[in-house]
């Protein structure tokens, strides 16, 4: 009876771990379609942060400020842990670098998006 209970507990623990680990995210998701609404020399940094949320990286210098938005989502099926079972894993990543002048006005953005499937 005790052994059976321990077995159930171990299996439950493994399921819990696997379900929790099936998807990993780094950074924060952001709406990249908002970028086209920003107007150079008009939109302020505060307005950009209100629209996109807080950036994961910032750099400020005499020349101005750069904000970096990043979101990486790596999805893997728990079934892929079973030997010889073929499953599809995928990683989606998107980056946006937004540049501002010394007065905190938006200048331009550089974006990058990748989709890896294995």
């Amino acid at each position: 009876m005790k052994i059976a209970a321990v077995k159930v507990a171990v299996v439950a623990l493994m399921v819990l771990l696997l379900s929790a680990c099936a998807t990993q995210q780094i950074g924060r998701d952001f709406d990249e379609t908002q970028l086209s609404t920003f107007k150079p020399h008009e939109t302020t940094m505060a307005q950009v942060i209100t629209a996109l949320g807080q950036p994961v990286e910032r750099e400020a210098s005499d020349q101005g400020t750069r904000l970096h938005y990043q979101w990486i989502k790596s999805g893997v099926s728990a079934a892929s842990l079973i030997p010889f079972v073929h499953t599809t894993d995928q990683t989606d990543a998107k980056d946006a670098f937004l540049y501002f002048d010394k007065e905190g006005k938006y200048l331009r953005a550089e974006t990058n998006e990748t989709h890896d499937h294995a």
Partner: protein
């Protein structure tokens, strides 16, 4: 929301004391699991009548009692090392920053202020099967949890970089970054 830093005026400087974010509970749990697995392996590879424990002794129980706290300690130590939390607060004036080390950096010597994550944050395709896949998943999960409390604010000067505050969550780090740029001459908050 409770502020994550305190500003104290002293001798013309504004001393900024930050409170690092606590480690996520899941990370500590992973440390305990790591210790448990080590205890299991130690039990498997210990001869049945080893003089280390004594005949008839419960190897597994002893290894768990030692291994689990050791695993938790190891994960905490590793996290503390990679989060790079300074041991002292920094101070700021409109024309200079005093680093946690006590060195003073004049405003004209400051190249950039940087908010970033002290963990390696780059796309990693997690995959594989069996034990290898599970290990990669656990490592990715631990890395993700640790990264969420590993944001830092640093200053670049004289071709190098000095951490002002670290071990912060993203909202905490952003608030501190704005605070520093607001108080330092010539930066846009």
């Amino acid at each position: 929301m409770k502020p994550n830093y305190r500003v104290v005026e002293a001798d013309g400087w504004q001393l900024i004391e930050t409170q690092p974010a606590p480690l996520p509970k899941r990370l500590v749990f992973f440390g305990a699991v790591f210790g448990f697995v080590l205890a299991f392996l130690a039990t498997v590879f210990t001869p049945p009548h080893s003089a280390f424990i004594g005949a008839g002794g419960s190897h597994f129980l002893v290894f768990v009692i030692v291994g689990v706290p050791a695993g938790v300690w190891f994960f905490r130590w590793r996290a503390a090392r990679t989060r790079r939390v300074p041991i002292a607060p920094f101070a700021i004036r409109w024309d200079a920053i005093r680093l946690p080390s006590g060195d003073i950096i004049a405003r004209e010597r400051i190249d950039r202020l940087v908010l970033s994550n002290t963990q390696q944050v780059s796309p990693v395709l997690v995959g594989g099967t069996g034990m290898r896949g599970a290990t990669m998943l656990a490592q990715g999960e631990a890395r993700e949890r640790l990264a969420s409390v590993s944001y830092a604010v640093a200053v670049e000067h004289h071709g190098g970089s000095s951490v002002l505050a670290a071990g912060l969550t993203l909202p905490q780090a952003n608030a501190l970054f704005v605070e520093v740029t607001r108080r330092l001459d010539g930066f846009q908050a």
